[in-house]
């Protein structure tokens, strides 16, 4: 675990501005917040985030659809029992069940995709300050050489942080 | 623990934790044995059924059955397809034979009375003790010179066993054999004998008739030989193309047969006789009668002009003429008279009137009419139940052997049957169940069920040709019981002397086989067979008897106006009770499967719904819905029926097929004893009847009183299977009208 510097702020816009500036200065800044700031960040110079999860969802849906479809058809073909005078390959219930499995698989893959993209579960990475999950906003710059400390701290101080801290394998 | 059980426990555990374990076994079927024997009979192959031809003894029809036996146990009863009476069919009661055989309440050991008579306290004794006690009593009686004070009261007997019983009694020096059963055909036999000269019930050829005029004969359900006639009914309706017989049912309360009839004529109770005679008069008047003595007939029947009879019988005059016209013009036609008519105080007259009708329409001796049968055994009309009760009450009966009949249940309180039997010195009861009569016995001898016993029968009514049937045991005895024949033989041996000398056979099976040598001779004569007796015997056992469809009995059947004049000069039958105080005629009829009460101890029969009301496990009183509305009686409400002789309470069933001035109740329920299934179910309506017996035949008349009906406040606890009898316009059981049907026939051709 490398070192990092975290700046804590009371206000969201300060945080985002600090992050923008850090980005301009060529650092990879991570914003921590207790509430989602997606809109604000995307409207800022941080830019739009890539939307990878849709591919997971697509895989899940297609998988669920084909699973439901093939599953109902193949299982009824495995043991042919006529019932109700209806065809063995009956489309109506097959489509209905496929609909349900599409959703089921879609939901599961969304969750899976969320975990993959959000890099969860993770128990060794910390957020360095518990406050960022409750009531503070934070900007973190990680993995940096010691000579950059001053600059980063300066940028962070520009936006009125409540605290700027150097982190060294610190427990949250 | 099996996997499934484990999962069951898991299921229970999820719900109630340890409770599942506390309750233990969840819904495990009882463990049964694959083979009931330690060392099985070599004949027994597990899973393979043996079929034995035998007879059903649940009623007097004498249907032949095939008994399915697997692993030494009776599994099912089916009609014997070769048997001429039932032709492979069997009624509900007959099919319940296994439930009599395996009834949990069957008597399993001979019993000896320990407490006071009537208390029903008995101790089990051995057969030796039981037989020697009976024999000692009979010997003592003989020694004291009172041999003629030994009586036998039995259900109507036929065939070899009747001969055995007669021989037994006569060897003891007495001829006191009384036959009793509630529905015994005494009136029918008497009417046939006196007016037509027949000594047994003829074959009513319902099968081939085109117009059947039935006076209260519930022939598809309870009358005389229901399976024979049901089969014939089916064929009358639909067997021959273009020949659909019409059924007209005359009865105040629509019976099961009446429900299937094309026309229901709800004549006034007791006036069927008058109606029949007025139809007869109309036949003569309109010139439909083609025989001789027209004037004699006219004068004999002149009392019953339809104009007058219409009022008495409550049937429009026009309808009487219509019936007469149809009855005479439709060829062949047939009139029959059943238990409703014969159960009046003057039952013989109505039945005689029916004979007159058949004679006048020319139905006797023709196909589709009345066909005579070979001779049967008719009862001694002097020996009615009333005579026996009278003798007993007067202390003339020292020893009474009761064979499988239950007069205590089937006679009213007014008959004082219990008191009379209590005055009898010694009562031996042969029975399979501890019924109301058995409770009064000193010694109870448990009988075999008919599937364990030997026997034979000459069905009466027979089938129009010689027919003799055999009963054989299908399974070994389930308990320490004996057949009635074996009991008599054992007692005879123990009595010794002349009795033992006359009845030497080691077992009833031997006795029966000996008796069948006559049949063998007859058979030889008829079909000129070359069989040895043993082959004949074995073939008969296999087939269920022997019969000879060729040798039809030709017999002249003629009704003379004078015979008719005598029998039919009495007008409508009497009902006890004043019409003002007791406004309703009270009609009793045998329940379709409990009959006179004998079927009430069979669980299947208790749960089999009555077809007309769908009531199970109890009985009811039928009241016309309009009457009920007037009296403020709801369906299922408890009502009290009071006759001048007592009262009884039963739930009401609103029955559209009954005259508004009539109430009806089925016989068969209301047992005080007779096993767990019968006991305490419903009420016994016979109790409140007057003890009226036909003077000529000694038959007990059940339709003989008027009653009044008063609603009780309580719910009657009627249990019926139907939701509603209203089809709600859904056209479920679809119908076509006769004219439409005839059109169909033409188009089909």
């Amino acid at each position: 675990m490398g070192k990092g510097i975290i700046g804590l702020y009371e206000h969201a816009d300060d945080t985002i501005k600090a992050a923008e500036k850090l980005k301009d200065a060529g650092y990879r800044a991570t914003i921590f917040s207790p509430v989602p700031l997606v809109h604000e960040i995307e409207r800022s110079r941080m830019g739009e985030r890539p939307n990878y999860i849709k591919w997971f969802v697509l895989i899940g849906c297609l998988g669920g659809l084909s699973f439901g479809f093939l599953f109902t058809l193949i299982t009824s073909a495995m043991y042919v029992l006529p019932r109700g005078g209806r065809p063995i390959f009956s489309m109506t219930p097959t489509l209905l069940l496929s609909y349900e499995t599409t959703i089921l698989f879609g939901v599961l893959w969304t969750m899976f995709g969320f975990l993959v993209i959000a890099r969860l579960p993770v128990f060794f990475k910390k957020s360095y300050d518990p406050g960022v999950k409750v009531d503070s906003f934070g900007v973190l710059v990680e993995d940096l050489q010691t000579d950059k400390h001053k600059e980063i701290e300066r940028i962070m101080h520009e936006f009125g942080p409540t605290e700027v801290r150097l982190i060294e394998n610190e427990q949250p | 623990m099996k996997r499934r059980d484990f999962l069951k426990y898991i299921g229970v555990g999820g719900a109630g934790g340890v409770l599942g374990f506390i309750f233990g076994k969840v819904s495990k079927p009882p463990v049964g044995k694959l083979m009931p024997y330690l060392i099985p009979d070599p004949d027994i192959i597990p899973g393979v059924a043996n079929w034995y031809a035998s007879l059903c003894a649940h009623c007097g029809a004498g249907c032949g059955v095939l008994v399915k036996v697997m692993e030494g146990r009776v599994k099912k009863i089916e009609g014997n397809p070769e048997h001429p009476v039932n032709k492979g069919k069997l009624c509900a009661l007959g099919q319940a034979l296994p439930q009599t055989l395996y009834n949990p309440d069957r008597l399993k050991k001979p019993l000896k009375r320990t407490g006071e008579r009537g208390r029903g306290q008995f101790a089990e004794i051995s057969w030796e003790e039981a037989v020697s006690t009976v024999a000692k009593n009979l010997v003592d009686l003989n020694k004291s010179g009172n041999a003629n004070k030994a009586y036998l009261l039995t259900h109507p007997l036929r065939g070899t066993f009747a001969k055995l019983a007669a021989a037994f009694m006569s060897s003891l020096g007495t001829s006191n054999i009384y036959e009793y059963e509630l529905f015994q055909n005494r009136n029918l036999l008497y009417a046939l004998e006196t007016s037509m000269g027949l000594d047994c019930i003829p074959r009513y050829d319902i099968e081939n008739t085109k117009y059947l005029l039935s006076f209260g004969a519930d022939f598809t359900s309870t009358w005389v030989s229901p399976v024979l006639y049901s089969d014939a009914y089916g064929k009358m309706r639909q067997a021959a193309p273009g020949n659909r017989g019409k059924l007209v049912q005359v009865e105040p309360r629509m019976s099961l047969t009446g429900a299937s009839a094309d026309e229901w004529v709800a004549a006034r109770p007791g006036a069927e006789c008058v109606l029949a005679l007025s139809i007869a008069y109309a036949l003569v008047e309109k010139g439909y009668y083609r025989g001789g003595e027209v004037d004699a007939w006219r004068s004999a029947l002149s009392k019953y002009k339809p104009s007058a009879a219409a009022h008495i019988a409550d049937v429009p005059e026009k309808r009487i003429y219509e019936i007469a016209r149809d009855f005479a013009k439709t060829r062949p036609s047939l009139a029959i008279g059943g238990e409703t008519v014969s159960s009046y105080q003057d039952g013989v007259s109505g039945l005689t009137a029916v004979n007159i009708l058949n004679h006048l329409a020319g139905n006797n001796g023709i196909k589709g009419g009345v066909i005579a049968n070979a001779a049967g055994e008719k009862p001694d009309f002097k020996k009615g139940i009333a005579a026996l009760i009278d003798d007993a009450a007067k202390g003339r009966v020292k020893t009474l052997i009761i064979n499988n009949t239950n007069p205590v249940f089937t006679t009213p309180d007014g008959a004082k049957t219990v008191e009379a039997l209590k005055a009898v010195g010694f009562i031996v009861s042969l029975a399979s169940f501890k019924d109301e009569t058995v409770a009064l016995a000193d010694i109870v001898l448990p009988l075999d069920a008919c599937l364990e016993d030997w026997g034979d029968d000459e069905p009466n009514p027979s089938v129009g040709y010689p027919c003799r049937t055999l009963m054989q045991p299908a399974v070994s005895r389930a308990a320490d019981t004996l057949g009635a024949g074996d009991v008599f033989l054992a007692v005879a041996r123990a009595v010794g002397g002349k009795t033992a000398g006359r009845l030497k056979a080691a077992s009833y099976a031997d006795y029966l086989k000996d008796a069948w040598r006559d049949e063998y001779a007859k058979n030889k004569r008829m079909s000129a067979g070359t069989l040895t007796f043993d082959d004949f015997w074995n073939a008969s056992l296999k087939k269920g008897g022997w019969w000879h469809p060729v040798g039809e009995t030709k017999k002249a059947m003629r009704v003379s106006p004078s015979a008719a004049r005598d029998a039919a000069s009495k007008g409508p039958s009497m009902f006890e009770g004043d019409a003002k105080d007791f406004p309703f005629y009270f009609m009793l009829y045998p329940h379709h499967v409990h009959r006179d009460g004998r079927g009430a101890n069979i669980p299947w029969m208790q749960e089999l719904s009555d077809p007309m009301t769908s009531v199970v496990w109890g009985n009811w009183i039928e009241i016309n819905p309009k009457t009920a509305e007037r009296l403020g009686i709801r369906e299922g409400a408890l009502v009290t029926i009071e006759s001048p002789f007592g009262k009884v309470s039963a739930p009401a069933y609103l029955y559209p097929g009954i005259r508004p001035d009539t109430a009806a109740m089925p016989i068969g329920q209301g047992h005080d004893a007779y096993g767990r299934y019968a006991q305490g179910k419903g009420q016994n309506p016979i109790r409140i009847l007057p003890f009226k017996n036909d003077l000529r035949t000694g038959a007990f008349a059940v339709n003989s009183t008027r009653v009044k009906i008063s609603p009780a406040a309580r719910e009657g606890g009627i249990v019926k299977l139907e939701g509603t009898a209203n089809e709600a316009g859904r056209d479920i059981a679809q119908t076509v009208s006769v004219s439409e049907y005839m059109k169909m026939k033409k188009e089909a051709v």
Binding site: V38, I53, P93, E100, T101, G106, V122 | V12, F23, T724
Partner: protein
């Protein structure tokens, strides 16, 4: 901008406000008075006595202890099954539908509604087992082959149920947990002992970075898009259990939308009832679930009630229009026969007439009135199912087999006991998990900005 929420927003948004939210919820979760224990004890023991004991008795003796008979083979258990599926719909309505339509007031009540959904679905599953003849074989309805490679009859509406309700339960559980991750991460720092361990494990190491929030937001969007059609399909499928049969009174094309509308109506009433009781027990919740919520939900209930009334009329109307003995007898039995006559008009009163009062804002924001109304709507919706499920079977095709149905004590007891079980589950859960979504409420309060105000939006 909604007035009521603005009121809340006027409070300076700063650290104190945010941590106050956490403190409030933590207080709800950790500070437990004797009253709670007493209530939980009573409710849980009632659940045991009224629910589990009779159920064990029923498993031991057989389904015969119920009041079911041959034409009426679906009784109160199926009524409860449908009813609880309906209740389960509220959570999804509030969290998914209102998320997609960006309705801001959903945030405070969404979590509670979702929790309700999950527990209602647990009851639904229980009722499936309760109503089975051989519950120890319930796993046979799961899609797996038996020894002879025979699978299941996917043509059966019951099988549709297995899939729909299975999917719904899984999805709701996933969605509920998913939404809770940031909150659990937030709480892990403010608790100690087993709670800390539990929350830090369950929060999966959520850090609250912008990347995580982004994917969280997108995933929520997808979840909502999945769950919204799912909700519609689930209750439609439940209605097909009935509608796909031939039974008069069941075989109705109107059933799918009718059931969905009814479900949403009862679900909303359930949510409001729950929050009203919680607000009474924990007065500080009034800060989060405000009159504004009552106002909005009241309006929604009114709208749904009107739609429901329309479908109810249509059900009767189409039956009358068909003019067959089957439909007419069914309607006659349902509407004109005692005691169903009374029940039917009680239902109309509860679901159509009473909610009309919600046109008055005063009544919408009146808590006692809403409490009263929600209870009545729930009773009415239960009656609606009761009047459909056993009643239609009482008047099937063959009049000879028309038989009425009265629930036995076991059924009544299990119905009440299951409700108690639901309440006790809920009571335990509010102590274990935040019943109000922390981050969403914080969003609702507003994001602290020094220079600009954020436009409201999801």
């Amino acid at each position: 901008m909604p007035a009521v929420i603005l009121q809340l927003r006027k409070v300076t948004v700063d650290k104190r406000t945010y941590s106050e939210v956490n403190k409030d919820i933590l207080r709800l979760m950790t500070k437990t008075g004797p009253g709670y224990y007493a209530a939980l004890g009573i409710v849980a023991s009632l659940a045991g006595i009224l629910f589990f004991l009779p159920w064990a008795y029923q498993i031991y003796r057989g389904q015969g202890v119920t009041g079911l008979n041959v034409p009426v083979l679906w009784g109160v258990y199926l009524v409860n099954f449908v009813f609880w599926v309906g209740i389960a719909h509220a959570g999804t309505l509030i969290s998914a539908m209102l998320f997609i339509t960006k309705t801001p007031w959903r945030r405070a009540i969404a979590r509670g509604a979702e929790t309700m959904t999950l527990f209602a679905l647990i009851l639904v599953a229980l009722y499936i087992f309760i109503h089975m003849g051989r519950p120890w074989n319930a796993y046979w309805t799961m899609p797996y082959p038996n020894q002879r490679e025979l699978w299941l009859n996917f043509m059966s509406p019951i099988m549709f149920d297995v899939f729909a309700i299975g999917t719904y339960t899984t999805s709701s559980a996933v969605f509920l947990y998913f939404g809770m991750i940031p909150d659990l991460a937030s709480l892990q720092h403010q608790t100690t002992g087993w709670r800390k361990k539990l929350y830090s494990t369950l929060s999966l190491g959520w850090r609250g970075t912008d990347a995580q929030w982004t994917v969280h937001g997108r995933a929520t969007m997808f979840f909502s898009s999945f769950i919204m059609p799912l909700v519609v399909s689930v209750h439609s499928i439940v209605s097909w259990d009935f509608a796909l049969s031939l039974v008069p009174g069941y075989s109705q094309t109107v059933f799918a939308p009718y059931f969905v509308t009814g479900a949403l109506l009862s679900g909303l009433a359930g949510v409001m009832l729950m929050f009203t009781i919680m607000r009474w027990a924990y007065p500080f919740l009034t800060k989060y679930v405000t009159d504004y919520h009552y106002d909005r939900v009241g309006a929604l209930i009114l709208a749904l009630s009107l739609v429901w009334s329309y479908f109810t009329c249509m059900e009767v109307f189409t039956g009358l229009y068909a003019n067959t003995s089957l439909e007419l007898e069914h309607l006659k039995f349902k509407i004109l026969t005692l005691p169903y006559f009374k029940l039917y008009f009680l239902m109309i009163f509860c679901n159509s007439i009473l909610p009309l009062s919600l046109i008055f804002k005063k009544l919408r924001v009146s808590r006692p009135f809403m409490l009263f109304l929600c209870i009545f709507v729930l009773i009415g919706m239960w009656l609606e199912r009761y009047l459909i499920v056993p009643n239609a079977l009482s008047r099937k095709f063959l009049p000879f087999m028309w038989h009425d149905y009265t629930p036995s004590w076991v059924e009544v007891s299990i119905t009440l006991g299951a409700l108690m079980f639901f309440v006790s589950l809920f009571m335990v859960s509010i102590k274990l998990f935040p019943v109000i979504s922390l981050f969403e409420v914080k969003e609702d309060i507003g994001i602290p900005m020094k220079h600009e105000h954020r436009k409201d939006g999801a």
